[in-house]
């Protein structure tokens, strides 16, 4: 039986944190990519944007987001950077980490790249979020590098993890 759900690389952030989590030299041998992230940032607030770059570019991204806070649901657009989801921030309950899953179909194809993102920043406090996002990177180049980083110049905190999987349809 084919093994079609394959770990490509995994990152665990060490002491002192990291400005970015990078996956580079991504092979084109898979059909889709899936990234699972557990992360927290030093940025102020309870939650912050988890941003994404493809091939070290933050340009030509567009996004529609649906976010629930436990008391209201809102929808908004995000076009200034690549929006990858949400992560817990400095004032959220200690030891809580945001959970994000990003799915990128046909990442090695010659069409613009769509992707989805699902995030939660639950922290057993008044402010927490569940978030769904639709993303598009309007570039036809194959994705060979993915960078995750915190908005508001936050540092990704120790014990954050990210794993990149490749999914093959044959």
């Amino acid at each position: 039986m084919a093994n079609t759900y394959t770990k490509i690389a995994s990152v665990s952030v060490g002491s002192g944190g990291a400005a970015t989590i990078d996956f580079s030299s991504i092979p084109t041998t898979y059909t889709d990519l899936l990234i699972k992230v557990s992360s927290r940032t030093s940025a102020t607030g309870v939650a912050e944007n988890l941003l994404v770059k493809f091939n070290n570019s933050s340009a030509t991204f567009s996004n529609k987001t649906l976010r629930g806070s436990g008391s209201a649901a809102v929808s908004y657009s995000f076009t200034t950077n690549g929006f990858g989801g949400f992560l817990n921030a400095a004032t959220s309950t200690s030891s809580t980490f945001g959970n994000t899953e990003i799915y990128i179909p046909n990442y090695a194809g010659s069409t613009n790249k769509s992707f989805s993102s699902d995030s939660v920043t639950e922290n057993n406090a008044t402010e927490a979020y569940a978030l769904l996002a639709a993303g598009l990177w309007s570039t036809t180049t194959a994705i060979n590098q993915i960078t995750l980083y915190s908005d508001s110049s936050g540092t990704i905190q120790q014990y954050s993890t990210a794993t990149l999987y490749g999914i093959s349809n044959s």
Binding site: T4, T6, K64, R67, V74, P105, N112, F115, N169
Partner: protein, 166 residues
């Protein structure tokens, strides 16, 4: 790593098509995952699904969706098909690829009705999470995906995976 996520079938459309059907789906898996990526020929349309060719009024949906400015929820009952998209209806613009990931749980059992979750995305129109119900106790052996009108374009891709619990 155990081989629990297995490709069942995949296609890239060679020409425009009004629908795509996965047929003769084996019952050996626990759950199914369908991934679609593409756009359609003329005027934006929602994408629909039917199981086992059933066109009876046996489908229902609940939708949670966002347009980029409005968050909304809707329901459909006793439909002849189920929605896979709501605000993230597929576009006619070649640069505006849309994406759908559908998880179909316990699809092969012959005791309960079948449920699924669809996560649909088109960054220029919306983001959707839908739950659907097919009121049939039959095992799912075929899945048909189609736009509410018009055709999928050539180059649109469909992949079906089987997931095994053990």
């Amino acid at each position: 790593m155990a081989s629990t996520y297995t490709p069942i079938a995949t296609t890239t459309l060679g020409s425009a098509a009004a629908s795509y059907t996965f047929s003769s789906i084996s019952s050996i898996y626990t759950d199914l995952v369908l991934v679609a990526n593409g756009y359609i020929t003329t005027s934006a349309q929602g994408i629909r699904i039917q199981f086992n060719g059933d066109t009876g009024t046996n489908y229902s949906n609940t939708t949670l969706s966002g347009t980029g400015s409005v968050a909304e929820s809707a329901r459909d009952t006793s439909g002849t098909n189920a929605r896979l998209t709501y605000d993230a209806s597929w576009s006619t613009t070649t640069s505006d690829y849309a994406q759908i990931n559908v998880s179909i749980m316990n699809y092969a059992n012959t005791t309960t009705y079948k449920t699924f979750i669809s996560r649909a995305n088109r960054a220029t129109s919306g983001v959707d999470a839908l739950v659907g119900l097919w009121r049939s106790t039959s095992a799912i052996t075929s899945i048909t995906v189609f736009p509410a009108a018009n055709n999928f374009v050539a180059g649109t891709t469909f992949s079906l995976y089987g997931i095994k619990a053990a």
